[in-house]
Amino acid sequence: MRGKILGILSVLILLCLFLSMATAEHWYEPLSSKFLKLDNIMNLLSRLSLYGILGIGVAFVIITGGIDLSIGSLVCLSGVLLSILLNVNYEAESTFAVKQITATQQLIETTAAAGEIPSDSIVRFTGGIGSGVVFTIAEEVSPGVLRVEELPPRDEPEGELTLAVPVRSFDVETLTAEISETAAKAGDQLQIFLPNGAVSVQTIVSVSADSGSLRLQLERDPGKKYHTGSYAAVLRRDQFMPIPLAVLCVIAITAAVGLTHGLLITRLKLQPFVVTLCGLLMYRGISRWLTGDNPAGFGELQEVLGPVASGRLPVLLRGDEVLFGIPIPFFLLLGLATVASVFLTRTIWGRYLLALGRSEEAARFSGINTQRVTILAYVICSVMAGISGMLFAIEFSSISPSSFGNSFELYAIAAAVLGGCSLRGGEGSIPGVVIGTAVMMVLYNLIMLLRIPQSLEYTIIGAVILLGVLGDELVRRAAAGQRLRQDRNRN
């Protein structure tokens, strides 16, 4: 194993050397090359981190002698899920559906219960042609049926009433609006109905109560005309889930996916290839269906989430400008790789994994619950795909469910194989996989920097992997031959 890691490491170093020389103005000045530009290195590290996490995951499955083709689709699904679970909605505190407005009688029939819309309260009508009209309630004639003071412009068959309050004052200097007391908190939005019928929506920065009225500090000036006769309604901010909970949910869902794969493969003895191939198709389909095939993103949360995927820990600064920083995901990769490596080499489950990958039967006959360990490997793989999928989605900020994550599984598998995992099972190391991923990323970089037509991308990557595997096989044969000769000599 150590030999394999050294082998792939030297391939990586040679590639880097070559690329440094090939992209420099003069080959003898490699330090000035495009390849070694700080930006390029930062980007490489960032991509390495995300793909590396995928590779580590699939390595566990490959060590059991299995395969997971569903990774790419699972990356997409977890990105989509995170986006959905973090969906942010703004909703008016109290709105009521309108069943009928009868203009001549000044009556509005609503679905509100008795007393829900008190007399003297102000409502704004939306829907139909008469949208934007503000009414004052005179009295409740019967439950839900209201008589208003103003004459409605016309009859309306349907629409919506929003309870509003008058804007008492507005301080342009401090961007502070004063309204009568109502429920509001920082992060909510204030919907201001201007007298001309226009609506302005502003985010509330802070809230303070002041004897029967609320002072709201807004993010921006809603415009001049609010002063006289404006009304306002608070839109409550509703985020489907807090961020940590959403992340945990995605991890739990991907773990359940892995568990399902594992159970199908161990209990029902289905082939890993087939099970995960079906997964590949299904999770892609689910992602597209969940989003209606529309791009998914994180909206206003992108600002909060962004640094997790695209943040840099500054190392080299010029003034305020970061010349070189280590991408935050790189630390995540280092952390996960360390845990994975310790798990594989220093715990009994890692030992069991390696044993059953080499001989499932012998492992079972040694009292190892091989099914449980195999299932664990599939769970680890899916969860890693989930983690990496969330990071990818945040990094890309907008993902299109039909293409996001396409063929990522092949990159991950190729990286694991380059890094010394044998598809026969029982062999593999985490540092090897990380280095293997790095080779893939540098190769991709090479195609970009050397302006090789991108249409050749897959050809080159494919050829290099083939060469790698070929070299490994030749070394293996040589070793086996040597073993045979030793055996002969002993007899």
Partner: protein
């Protein structure tokens, strides 16, 4: 029927030797076969029969020695070379494509063609001819999967005849046939003999051998034990030549001090032989052997006790405590260990080191919250290697590089480090050289003296007789008898082990 001159046998084998890593499978073996003759080759498991047949059929190559067909020296590089010379091997496990028809199987790879397409009519015509020659009136268009095992065997023979085979090697052809089917096969064999085909017949069933053979060649431990002419073929002669060696020298069994019942089995039915209920017990410090022919259901008993196969019904008690084993995990938890028959697949992980193999079943005991205790692992492995005298430069070398005997010691080391109450061994000395065998015998004796109950299966009679305090004899899934040490004779064991197959011959 024209008899070939006796001076020129159809098949002549001289001085054949073959070694595998760690094992000498054949040594200087001689054998010859006349035209129109049935020659049986018998011997215990591991005696070298299969290796010899594989060499004759071109599956393997000999290290030295010569094979002559009709006086001409031949050298087979492949199965098709052997076929070209007129030698066909019919494997124990049939090699038919069961989704194809009889005709397609007979001509598989040699399909007659017309205008580049397969000539189905020629296949039908020719197949019918070959089927008729062995007295089978089946439509060649029948799918092989719709045939009985006996009929499939006949198709194999027809296929051999279609390549004009003049030597037919049959490896345990009756092992999965019913009595009626076997009789039918014997008729065909006699018929072929009268047509001038020479047949090499390999079987464990001595009754069949006596019934069919013109001559018998006996192998033992890879060497020729002797030839028997037709009038010398008796049960006694066969067993004497097969077992042969002075038994008492190798074995040392210290008398067994009666211990408590370690394991008790009541009404156990295995999935392979659901019709028979098994009852037996093994005491602490006792070595019990299970004797019987291959396929008698001995391995299934061990596998079921170990949880590798699920029992259909029955009760297993370990030290009086009722036990439900659904997997080896449960069995090992209750102190049951199995040294399996298939050492390379089930006994050790060949690609792992000796140390990793020895610790595999017990690392969870020394681990601290899942983390390996490498120091304990090292100590345990060193201790076992010393105790069992594993011959290796270090315990960090690949187990697959060891000889069979040393691999077996690693398997034993794995189990001894978890201190079992009941040790099950399935053919513990198969493919192991005589020196290591003796060490394993001594070890079994010592372990029994330490109070471990031992239940082992062996096809080598001398092993059964030399080691066991008591022998359980099985035949076709049921226990046909139990013999205590002072009742043990080859004759007694063989009689019980071949009870039905040799019913006619047991009396004389």
């Amino acid at each position: 029927m024209p008899a070939a001159p006796q001076s020129q046998p159809r098949l002549q084998v001289e001085g054949i030797s073959k070694s595998f890593p760690g094992v000498r499978a054949l040594q200087n073996v001689e054998m010859h076969l006349q035209q129109g003759e049935v020659l049986s080759v018998v011997g215990e498991n591991g005696a070298g029969k299969s290796t010899l047949m594989k060499i004759l059929a071109g599956v393997q190559r000999q290290d030295s020695g010569s094979v002559r067909v009709d006086g001409k020296t031949v050298s087979f590089a492949s199965v098709s070379d052997a076929m070209d010379a007129g030698i066909a091997l019919i494997h124990q496990e049939l090699n038919l494509a069961d989704n194809l028809t009889i005709g397609a199987n007979i001509f598989l790879g040699r399909e007659p063609r017309r205008l580049g397409l397969i000539d189905e009519r020629a296949i039908h015509r020719e197949s019918t001819r070959f089927l008729k020659r062995i007295g089978l009136s089946l439509d060649p268009g029948t799918l092989v999967q719709d045939l009985t095992t006996g009929q499939q065997q006949m198709v194999e023979i027809a296929k051999a005849l279609s390549i004009d085979a003049r030597v037919l090697i049959m490896d345990e052809p009756t092992s999965s046939l019913s009595a009626a089917e076997s009789e039918r096969l014997f008729d065909v064999i006699r018929d072929l003999r009268s047509q001038g085909v020479s047949i090499v017949y390999i079987s464990h069933r001595l009754a069949e051998v006596q019934e069919l053979s013109d001559r018998v060649t006996v192998l033992r431990d890879g060497e020729l034990a002797g030839h028997l002419a037709e009038d010398q073929i008796t049960h006694g002669n066969l067993v004497r030549l097969m077992v042969g060696r002075d038994v008492s020298r190798v074995f040392s069994r210290t008398p067994f001090p009666a211990g408590k019942v370690a394991v008790e089995v009541r009404g156990l039915r295995t999935s392979t032989w659901p019709a028979h209920e098994l009852n037996f017990a093994v005491h602490s410090g006792e070595i019990v052997g299970i004797a019987g022919l291959v396929g008698a259901g001995r391995t299934e008993v061990l596998r079921t006790l170990f949880g590798a196969d699920a029992p259909l019904s029955g009760e297993i008690r370990i030290r009086g405590q009722k036990l439900t084993v659904t997997s080896p995990v449960d069995a090992i938890e209750s102190g049951i260990a199995l040294v399996p028959e298939d050492r390379k697949q089930q006994g050790v992980v060949l690609d792992m080191t000796i140390r990793e193999n020895i610790s595999l079943a017990s690392i969870h005991r020394t681990a601290r919250s899942g983390f390996m205790n490498f120091a304990a692992e090292r100590r345990q492995s060193a201790d076992m290697c010393e105790q069992l005298r594993v011959k290796a430069p270090a315990d960090t070398i690949r187990t697959g590089n060891l000889s069979g005997g040393n691999q077996q010691k690693v398997v034993l080391g794995k189990w001894l480090s978890m201190k079992p109450h009941l040790l099950l061994l399935d053919e513990p000395t198969r493919g192991i050289d005589i020196g290591a065998k003796q060490e394993i015998y001594q070890l079994m004796d010592r372990l029994a003296a330490e109070g471990i109950a031992i239940l082992f299966v062996s096809s080598e009679l001398e092993e059964i007789m030399g080691l066991s305090d008591r022998v359980i004899i099985m035949h076709e899934g049921c226990i046909t008898g139990e013999l205590s040490r002072d009742q043990l004779t080859e004759q007694a064991i063989m009689t019980l082990a071949t009870r039905q197959a040799s019913a006619a011959n047991v009396q004389n």
